[in-house]
């Protein structure tokens, strides 16, 4: 793994456009990785685009993203998507593949992959084909694959969105363990309960702009921006 660090992550005035649509509009965001961050906002607010831009998958039309002071994306970060893309091979081989392309020596891959699977509770399905696992197991496998790389920074785009409550709870537990083990977490979600439990800080997006960044405890009781207040009003019973 490269020695360059993803943190601090500094996004300065980033704008992203898709044709005539402005997905992000002059967003400034600095992450030091000290506290887990949840990005909230309505559908189409730009949450996923922001996450992908911070991860380096989308180049901003304006502004810049720097990781540890460099414009080159370091390898010590990973991302888990809403729908994990798994390769047509066993669960274990999916994790080993990620280790191989990140330059981990052959002898260590097996050990590290087995450890990662055991930590997410998938040790017993290591030899099963990844794509026939249940939705919850596939998401935990994606987490194991990301975790095996020992990232300093982990992005997650609605990691529990397409899961039933029991599977979502399993995934949430794993995310808690990853955070506790020292990985900085940045996630998007529509589950406010999950955001409240998983994050210490909330970044609220509205139509491609950050309207506030607030400690989680404060955000849910008294959001600072009107947009966030309206969103919480609509989302909470």
């Amino acid at each position: 793994m490269a020695s360059a660090s993803s943190l601090p992550l500094e996004a300065r005035g980033i704008s992203v456009r898709f044709g005539a649509v402005t997905a992000l509009d002059h967003v400034d965001l600095v992450l030091d990785g000290m506290a887990p961050v949840a990005i909230l906002g309505a559908n189409g607010a730009g949450k996923s685009v922001l996450l992908r831009t911070l991860h380096g998958l989308i180049a901003p039309a304006r502004g810049s993203v720097a990781w540890g002071g460099s414009g080159e994306r370091p390898r010590d970060q990973a991302m888990v998507f809403q729908r994990p893309v798994l390769l047509r091979r066993s669960a274990l081989d999916n994790v080993k593949y990620a280790l191989a392309v990140n330059g981990v020596a052959g002898a260590q891959r097996e050990t590290r992959a087995c450890e990662a699977l055991a930590r997410v509770g998938l040790g017993h399905v290591a030899d099963r084909a990844a794509r026939v696992l249940s939705g919850g197991e596939q998401q935990r496998l994606a987490l194991a694959r990301a975790w095996a790389l020992a990232p300093r920074l982990l992005f997650m785009d609605e990691p529990t969105a397409s899961l039933d409550p029991a599977a979502a709870a399993d995934v949430e537990r794993v995310i808690g363990e990853i955070a506790a083990a020292g990985t900085a977490i940045v996630l998007t979600t529509h589950h406010l309960g999950f955001a409240r439990r998983a994050a210490s800080e909330i970044v609220f997006l509205h139509r491609g702009r950050v309207t506030e960044r607030t400690p989680a405890a404060e955000f849910f009781s008294s959001p600072r921006s009107q947009e966030a207040a309206a969103y919480l009003e609509g989302e909470l019973p």
Binding site: M79, V85, R88, R89, V101, A129, V132
Partner: protein
Amino acid sequence: MPDIAASFALALRLIGGGDAELWGIVALSLEVSLASALLACALGLPLGALVAVRDFAGRRAVIVGLNALFGLPSVVVGLVVYLLLSRAGPLGSAGILFTPKAIVVAQTLLVVPIVAALARQFVDDAWGEYREQLLSLGVSPTRAVPTLLWDLRYSLLTVVLAGFGRAIAEVGAVMIVGGNIDGVTRVMTTTIALETSKGDLPLALALGLMLLAIVFALNGAVYAVREWSVRRHG
């Protein structure tokens, strides 16, 4: 002209009786077509996948070109390979004109664009799904090529089969560069053409039946493998 039913009976007797000439022709056909299909896949699959995942100037032109070469007139390929391999041609010193090797060269040239164009289509579709995940893992588009080809291996069997089917069904180019020499470069298709025009219908029919049987058996096998792969891998 002999009675068709009688020719059919004779044809079946040739197949059942293990006629040496018949089986020699079938074996040579299989040999050159398998060799061409394998060579064409070794070149065409990575080529098609690279065009699918890499962004470069002129990419559209390459895609249009590949799709156009799909319908490459085989006699033109035969003519070009003939000119290249003939004694006065640039590759004449190899001395492989009118040998099975010349047939392999011609068939490979015919099959590469088919394999590359189909592989590009398959990989292009898959790349939409895999792109972000692989880039996120630190996999460059070029490094993604072997990953994608391996992950799509069961779908790509259909492409390999299409390539083999094109190779074994080829007549024109094979006739030109192979010369249809008895016992040397006579394959199923060229023999059928020759024997039919000579009026020897039983041998032509027997070879036609064998050709159909091979194509059906291969298609059945590929279908079975794909069914199995869906159950195994989802």
